[in-house]
Symmetry: C2
Subunit: 206 residues, 2 copies
């Protein structure tokens, strides 16, 4: 290692405003303005969220953007009572799902080890576990990408999972994980911020 390459490879740090936008000041929106969200903005979210890493580059997350009135009418009965009004008001609601057949793409996505597809195909417990974990990782990337394009996200676990799958993914290949309202914040959009665990409970040292 020579010093030149170390200097070149030192990475910049995210500035305070950007940290506020993604992490420290961003909040989950509970109301949404009428301001539309365009398909271009929705595509832009994925153009960010698709890049951070997944195991063996498998990328098992799929996104269904529901933004037509017809789509919303199919979705709303499947959302918990406490989440329904804000979901009706959000210009877009994304269903984040795992593709249970994600391993079929491995020869394309991990071309130096195409046979890994067969390893995944032969071990359903490993395949499902890796798919669930990596799709959830990508859901984390997705939520921060929504914020990065200047929109507010409202993730919700309160929905009828089997109902959403039957309605939107009837062939059974995709399985819903999270529903996310997306838009510009409306009136009084934020609840009081909830506490975070103390550092000593979350972070340990060895």
């Amino acid at each position: 290692m020579d010093n030149t390459s170390e200097v070149v490879l030192t990475r910049p740090r995210l500035d305070t405003d950007a940290r506020a936008l993604l992490f420290t000041d961003a909040r989950t929106a509970n109301t949404f303005a009428d301001t539309p969200v365009t398909d271009t903005e929705l595509a832009e979210i994925w153009e960010l969220a698709k890049w951070p890493p997944t195991a063996a580059n498998t990328q098992p997350l799929r996104v269904l953007y529901i933004r037509t009135p017809e789509g919303k009418q199919r979705l709303l009965p499947l959302i918990s009572d406490g989440n329904r009004d804000k979901t009706a008001a959000a210009p877009v609601t994304a269903v984040l799902a795992v593709d249970t057949q994600y391993h079929e793409h491995i020869p394309q996505l991990f071309p130096h080890k195409p046979d890994l597809r067969d390893v995944f195909a032969a071990d359903s417990a490993m395949r499902d576990g890796s798919g669930q974990f990596n799709a959830a990782l990508q859901a984390g990337y997705f939520l921060l990408a929504v914020r990065a394009v200047g929109l507010a996200a409202g993730p919700m676990a309160g929905f009828d999972r089997a109902g959403v799958d039957a309605e939107f993914f009837p062939d059974g290949q995709f399985r819903s994980l999270l529903v996310v309202n997306i838009g510009h914040p409306g009136e009084n959009p934020w609840f009081d911020r909830l506490p975070r665990l103390p550092h000593t409970a979350s972070v340990h040292w060895a």
Copy 2:
């Protein structure tokens, strides 16, 4: 909704350099420089990663930072052959784990519904599923937070999960999910970038 509040609540967008740092240009490091990583930098990662949302604010992820020579010697035999050299070279390796007793913190973290602890306590399948999913979401936040503080992350699924749990979490409360090397990139740190799925395969519309 009046126009004034809409204007106020329009959020900024992440600029191109910040997008490059976190999403579009960031890469998984496979070699690490000798440059130390301080405990202050490691704490700073969590001060970002702790903020984005989790279901019912449960925050089930725990981080074990392994940065002493003794800790590294305990870890290295449990890492896959192909990952061992880079793990030995990384100044810090984080074990990301789910706290299986995360629901015990609900009265503190979700104070308007403290009884939710008992709902989680009574339903182990729901509790474990929510814990796994939300810990993985937080792992996604964590990886982007590593990048945000100017460090490179090298997440690895290739390790002996049961062995890591037995060695570092012998009471069984935490269960390892992902091992992440952290440091400044070394010589030739990046592999060629692997392809991403075409937009039409990942993103769907309704």
